[in-house]
């Protein structure tokens, strides 16, 4: 065995340790504010994700009414947990538009059939382009967009049931 190779496992472990320690010391900054808050939505025009919902473009957010833009994926486990909460918001009269990230139409259809479909429109983002443009890095994520196409709030991670009033408040503020 080469002499330096003997120490390779220890070096790899050191790397692992550094990752863990950094994770503990800077515990998940779960409140990063997007650089995009207060700025207009970037321009986009996404293809349809499923046949029974229209496609999604930037122009859909300038109709005067505040909306939610939800970034999701059929392969994302927290999105499953979020689904009933989105349904609850939809029942409360909130219009939710979705972007399915790196997904396939049959998978999205299956996801919606299984967990409910709260979306008015769903666009498909196969290369995470919109995700980057939005300053969003994970799935799920939800943005409050006011009626003029300006991002007023970003919610990282799934919306939990107890956060529904807060989201409704953010929507009201956006008016």
């Amino acid at each position: 065995m080469k002499h330096w190779a003997i120490w390779l496992p220890l070096a790899l472990f050191g790397l692992l340790f550094a990752v863990f320690a950094s994770g503990l010391i800077a515990p998940g900054d779960r409140t990063i504010a997007s650089q995009m808050i207060g700025k207009p939505l970037p321009d986009f025009d996404l293809p349809q994700a499923v046949p029974d919902r229209p496609a999604l473009a930037r122009a859909d957010f300038t109709g005067g009414k505040p909306k939610l833009l939800n970034v999701f994926a059929s392969w994302c486990v927290p999105c499953i947990a979020e689904a009933p909460v989105l349904a609850q918001l939809a029942r409360a009269g909130v219009e939710i538009d979705g972007v399915a990230i790196r997904d396939r139409t049959p998978d999205v259809q299956q996801f919606l059939a299984r967990h409910g479909n709260p979306y008015t429109r769903i666009g498909r983002d196969d290369v995470s382009k919109i995700q980057f443009d939005l300053g969003s890095s994970g799935v799920p994520e939800t943005f409050v967009i006011n009626g003029k196409g300006i991002i007023t709030y970003q919610h990282i991670g799934e919306i939990r049931a107890d956060q529904v009033p807060m989201i409704l408040q953010k929507l009201k503020e956006a008016q």
Partner: protein
């Protein structure tokens, strides 16, 4: 009183662990040889004491002694008996006690039973085991005492997370834990052998049954956990690549690799440094898994016991033990003598390839699990899901399946390809036929499920070939074990592939009396009524299912359950298992129009996943029993195990004395 006595016993056990480490280390020096004999009894007593403390904790839970803080926080007088017992380990403090109990018992059993190993290596191993235990004793006694009192005692306890109130789950954590922590013994053996520079076949033979035992428990624990997620979470999936699931898979992958390399070392005296390395890696993965679950640094659907402070503690232990062992490895690996040489095209060669691929999969799972953590350090958050894990691990899994099919048919040292090619022609034909059938009849089912079905069919046949032309009654148990375990992999793979290929599902809003079809089934919703259980109430649907044109009716009762303490809703799926698949029904909410949400799945052959898991475990048990019986019979030990293989070429009908 019980709690105080138990705490005293726990302190005593910790003190004995100190003694075990101190005396063991001293005994290894030139002057301390007379103390060598004292270490085994100390290890046995330490194991007994810590097991007693754990038994007393269970007694406290059985009595629902609410003056004990842990009981008040995790139990409830109305809980059914089995969950009172399970409550003892369904929390952080109790599971830490279970951790040291398993470590203590494993050390005690090794001290009692293992007589083949050089005594100095044995003592070094036991000292190592005590050293690892001590970290956890300290953690428990100084910061998470399971026997802490609560004054005043509450009138009633908090109850146990209802998701965990399930017979499968009551025994899933301890099974997995025995596996996780059982690997500590492999770790201690490796450290002991490095200290005394005694890495050789005798060391491998001593370590093998313990690795096998831990591996069996891991296999069964993962199988049970996947089954629990499948029917308790009500999502109809059986594996989510969740960090906690990955945390249990990684030690299994490392232990599987270790299991195979330890056999090469025992049989052929090769792969010395590699085997020691794997033993360290396997237990590291157990600790990394524990760290990930407890520290909460990754977001997981199963985060039940999260606390960053505990995370720092476990991380410190991880640094001391794993860092220390790897440093020791670095210092000593050059003194480990080179083992027997072999040709790449041989049994050993195939086992090395298998090891490399298993470690590759381990690396992929580890990277996928930790990637969100790494990017988070740079301010970006991502979620890594099946689109990464499935295809990327498949790159390694499919070649591994080929080697799994061929390896057991190859000879030690060197083989030539012709005989192997003849033998493998049959499974290759079966795989090709499956491919043709699937393409013609199944249509577009996706590449991975298709490959899964094809490889499963080929492997199922190939895994049985080691029995070809053997006298079945005289075939050693460990050969049967290997054949059954490999066959189990094929069975599980067939279940997984079939689940993703042929699954059909319906989500309906149903009126009472309405019928729905899913796959070959017709299902009528006949009514929904409230019922009450021991500590829950539920809405229960009555579904009547008919298969195809048959008139036989079967009743299914999915429930939406409400637990009172703590208040939580869970969904109890109803399952109907037939030889060719499983019907899976979940009751959802009632809509405003009085219609009920129903989710119905028909999952052809999905139970094969868990039957396969059980077969793999059974193979392990057979191999363990067979090997142990054999070892007990063979007193005068040769340095290497006989392979019953003549050095010269021999007729094709010769038996293969192989590894499992």
């Amino acid at each position: 009183m019980i709690a105080e006595i138990a705490l005293a016993i726990l302190w005593l056990a910790a003190a004995l662990a100190v003694l075990q480490l101190g005396l063991g280390s001293y005994a290894l020096t030139a002057r301390g040889a007379e103390f060598l004999r004292a270490v085994r009894p100390i290890a046995v007593v330490q194991g007994l004491l810590v097991a007693t403390a754990f038994a007393l904790l269970i007694v406290l839970f059985l009595r629902t002694d609410l003056s004990v803080k842990l009981v008040a926080a995790n139990s409830h007088s109305l809980k059914p008996l089995i969950y009172k017992i399970a409550g003892a380990w369904g929390n952080h403090e109790g599971s830490m006690l279970l951790w040291v109990t398993v470590m203590g018992l494993a050390g005690g059993f090794v001290a009692l039973l293992e007589r083949r190993l050089n005594e100095r290596t044995m003592v070094a191993t036991l000292a190592g085991q005590a050293f690892v235990s001590l970290g956890f004793y300290a953690f428990m006694l100084f910061s998470s005492n399971p026997f802490e009192r609560l004054n005043p005692a509450p009138v009633e306890g908090n109850g146990l997370n209802p998701l965990l109130q399930d017979p499968g789950l009551a025994f899933h954590p301890p099974t997995l834990y025995i596996g996780y922590v059982g690997l500590s013994i492999a770790f201690s053996f490796a450290v002991g052998a490095l200290i005394t520079r005694d890495v050789g076949p005798a060391f491998a033979r001593a370590m093998r049954p313990w690795v096998m035992g831990a591996w069996i428990f891991l296999t069964l624990g993962i199988t049970a956990g996947s089954w629990w997620a499948y029917y308790e979470l009500g999502w109809g999936g059986w594996w989510f690549w969740d960090p906690v699931e990955n945390a249990s898979l990684m030690p299994w992958l490392a232990a599987t690799a270790l299991l195979h390399s330890v056999s090469v070392l025992a049989t052929r005296g090769a792969l010395k440094a590699w085997t020691v390395m794997l033993a360290v890696v396997a237990f590291s993965m157990s600790m990394v898994g524990t760290f990930l679950v407890r520290s909460g640094i990754l977001t997981s659907v199963h985060a039940f016991a999260v606390d960053p402070e505990r995370g720092s503690f476990i991380l410190t232990l991880l640094a001391i033990y794993i860092g220390g062992a790897l440093a020791l490895f670095g210092l000593r690996a050059s003194t480990v003598t080179e083992g027997a040489r072999f040709h790449l095209f041989s049994r050993e060669g195939s086992l090395v390839m298998n090891n490399v691929l298993l470690v590759g999969i381990l690396g992929i799972v580890l990277m996928g699990t930790l990637y969100p953590l790494v990017t988070e350090a740079f301010g970006t958050k991502v979620s890594v899901g099946p689109p990464y894990f499935n295809p990327v691990s498949a790159i390694f899994v499919f070649p591994m399946l080929v080697i799994m099919a061929a390896g057991p048919l190859m000879r030690w040292r060197q083989d030539n390809g012709r005989k192997l090619a003849n033998l493998l022609a049959v499974p290759a034909l079966v795989a090709a036929a499956t491919l043709a059938l699937a393409v013609v009849f199944a249509g577009d089912i996706g590449v991975l499920p298709l490959l899964g079905l094809v490889f499963a069919a080929g492997l199922a046949v190939a895994s049985l070939l080691p029995l070809w032309k053997r006298n079945l009654r005289r075939t050693p148990a460990h050969i049967w074990g290997m054949v059954i375990a490999h066959f189990g992999i094929a069975v599980a793979l067939a279940g997984m592939a079939s689940e993703s290929a042929f699954n059909t599902e319906r989500l309906v809003a149903s009126e009472i009396g309405q019928s729905h079809t899913v796959g070959p089934w017709t299902i009528e919703l006949q009514g929904v009524r409230p019922i009450a259980g021991a500590n829950w109430t539920a809405l229960e649907a009555r579904l009547v299912a008919r298969y195809g044109d048959s008139n036989v009716q079967t009743v299914l009762n999915p429930q939406a359950r409400m637990f009172a303490s703590p208040p939580t809703a869970t969904s109890e799926a109803a399952l109907l298992t037939r030889w060719n698949g499983q019907l899976y029904a979940v009751l959802g909410e009632e809509g405003d129009d009085g219609r009920w949400q129903l989710r119905l799945w028909w999952k052809p052959f999905v139970p094969l996943i868990w039957y396969g898991g059980l077969l793999i475990g059974l193979g392990g048990v057979l191999s363990l029993v067979g090997r142990t019986a054999r070892d007990l019979r063979r007193k005068g030990e040769p340095e290497l195990e006989p392979t019953s293989e003549p050095a010269a070429p021999r007729p094709a009908s010769g038996g293969q004395e192989a590894l499992a």
